[in-house]
Amino acid sequence: MRPKQTNLLQGTLDLLILKTLSLGEMHGLGISRRIGQLTEGTFHVKPGSLFPALHRMEQSGWLTSCWGESEANRRAKYYRLSRAGQKQLEAETREWGRISLTIAQALQAT
């Protein structure tokens, strides 16, 4: 366990996943690739972090999941934002803005 790093990463990852899914339902690989695109390759989400995050968020009621068909007619598990997830995204976006602004100001202060 590396609590500090995980917490920071977890918060960021959650926010990115919420953001990704706000555009529509998606399966695991799709989410991973979309985050890569959105962050222009800065974040490469590995399955070892992605799946725990998805399941944790599902458990918290932010996501719902169901089995479906991929574009190439393959079975895949799709995730979708719930109403609570939507609210969570809004709240976290605000919070993120506040924090990043504060930190940026703090870093520039000297």
Partner: protein
Amino acid sequence: MPLLRYFSSCWRSLFQKSRLDEDLDEELQAFVELLVEEKIRQGASPAEARRSALIELGGVEQVKERVRDARLGAAMESILQDLRYAVRVLAKSPGFTSAAVLTLALGIGANTAIFSVVNAVLLRPLPYAEADRLVAPMGEKHSPAAHTVVSHPDFLDWRDQTQMLENVAAYTRSSMLLRLDDAEPELIYGANVSADLFPLLRIRPALGRAFTRDEDQPTSEPVILISHGVWQRRFNSDPNIIGRQLKRGGSGAGAIIVGVLPEGFRFPVQESRTDYLRPLAPALGEWAQRRGAYSLRVLARLKQGVTAQQAESEMRAIGQRLEQQYPDEGFRLGSRFVSLYEAVVGDVRASLLVLLGAVGLVLLIACANVANLLLARAAARHRELAIRAALGASRWRVARQLLTESLLLSLAGGGLGLLLSLWGLDLLVADSAFNLPRLKDVSPDTNVLAFTFGVSVLTGIIFGLAPALLAVRVDLYEALKEGGRGSTAGAARSRVRGLLVVSEVALSLVLLVGAGLLVKSFARLRGVNPGFDAQNVLTTGLSLSKVKYPEAEQRRELFAQLVERLRAVPGVESAAVVYPVPFSGTTTSNTFLIHGRPAPAPAEKPAANYRAISPDYFSVLRVGLMSGRAFTEQDRPTSPRVVIVNETLARRFFRGQDPLGQRISIERASGQSAVQDMSEIVGVVSDVRHAGLDEEAGAEVYVPFTQAPEGYMDVVVRTTAANPAGMSASLRDVIRTADREQYVPAIQTMTELIAESVAARRINALLTSLFAGVALLLASIGIFGVMAYTVAQRRHEIGVRMALGAQAGDVLRLVLGQGLRLVLLGVAVGLAASLALTRVLAGMLYGVTPTDPATFAVVALLLILVALAACYVPARRATKVDPLIALRYD
């Protein structure tokens, strides 16, 4: 339903690892396939694509493990979150919280206490190995009196002839004085048992050994096993106790201690304590040889694979054989076997289950009350919930939150209730009237804890469900629009609230009717005239040492002297001796023959209870002499034998004849005197209920104690003092003057003896009334709460009515009418339920039918009055509404 899904997902992540695993496996598999496809599209060869896809995934097991951790963490997190929030919300309204927790603690505590008793008495198996094969022979009717009694010779024949029983053992209860060198003598209780009891119950002594059949002969040297408790308490756990002589009080002969019983051993059919076991035959002495002396009870262990029916038919066959062999004895063994468990608890089961049912109803009422409180709160929290919903909390999340709050309340109530129950149990067990078999074993074991926990959770769900479900139905728009005064979700809520009032009234009515019936039958029973005047009479039992007074003449002399001395004590009006005294629990039944009539078959010989008395007995107890004379000093051992009979005997056996001057011979199995002697009936006295207030007097024969001297007599003394109990000390002194070494047990008043005989009924009536009282209180609080709330809600409307000219009386009628409608509906439902339910009380009632109309009517009326009183205060408040303020308000 989301709520269910929540619980089931928690359940899954905690316990159903495998199904979740399969799903996860599949998900990861699908992920790999998609990845492979992607890589192939980018130009990799299939084999290469798969290899790099697996590398990208990393260890499958590692990923799965992390997912599982994450899920569990999230589940725990969200439960903790709910809990934290619930604690905060409840702490913010301490009034509501403490009212709810106390109500629940009362309900759950009462249930835990009664369940602890049920657990100890009914649920725990008997503490003997393979107890399912232990049985007791019974007569026809099932009651404690139906225990078969046999004589020692018959028991030995049975034991030797049986093929179906592994062991048969006979026993009698006994008590003795334990005299250790310089300590005060102590009366200890035990049993005289045949040697077969040890293999039968599979008892292995903690120290030493059990006694053998050789030591269980009439002439054997006396031996004894003492209990672990006596060994610890009186002998300081002396490891060298074996072989020591135990001096018995009174007699000089001591018994050799051969063993110490295992810790916690208790003789199955002796409730209170087993301080010792000693061999049966030596204790019986010469009675051991008499085939006519039926005084032994029997226990048996069925052989492996033998059914009770098989053993029963064998028992009947052996009984018939003995009857043919010894036709004069009119003998029969039992007619059926019941399990030992049944024999021990059969008589108390019904009343315990009734009590458990009663506390269950109390808890339901408590639930209804708390649900009411929650509903009222939910209305007040309408806005808070609506805002949470607006902020994105899903409905089920809100419902879950409310349910968490109610579970927290019920668990807090359960914890407090557990403490209350421990306290209540101490009170119950300390009350000697609550004398149940096995009650001494009562303790909060895992069964009880699991029960309390289960009941708490169930309670929380029961009272929390309605408010939670109603909250789920909250319509956001409606809620915000309505603002603080909310009333349409209000409509559903007030329907539920009405339903709660109706069920509270109905439930309390059932309880009140049950309590009313038990109280009424108790009152009926206490009102029964026992046939004598128990006021100002003291009694105690005296057992004379056979060593000190070996001759009948000596014993007679001592008792006669004692009566003289007692009579001389200031404050004593009259004194007598009798054996056995009424309400002592002892009965002695003997058959008799009527002179000049043909001898009937052995089984049809007339029988009567038999009582030895001194001349003044009837005047001490104020039993009326109907004809003839009482005994006098002139009825001596050498004078012609005389008896006095009661009215029932006279009526039953001398119909249309004058019983005076008739002669009967009583067949007695006791003492050294001749078994049959002709006696003349010299008097007839009125009937006395000796065995209990609820038992009609049987045929009764009184003989002068001078003509049948026993070593044991009860003393009865009528005092002139208003406080007979205050005389005990001087009586004790007088007895000690007659014989300095004489042990005098507790001196009791006759009224105490009578009260003891109905103690079980008293405690049943008392507990049920207590529970009914709590129910009534809770119900009236509930009704009050609902009506007060309704009035507060309708203030606006009432204001309008008053502005339009309604008088205070109209408003009062309006509110009371609304309350009354609910109450009457509840009463109707409750009456119907009571009609169906009170049948279970039938066996516990005396002189009252289970559907006694008077009780039903009185209870219904009482409940309506109390309910109206509970409505009245809010109704009065409604009349005080100032139209101006009410209309200006919001």
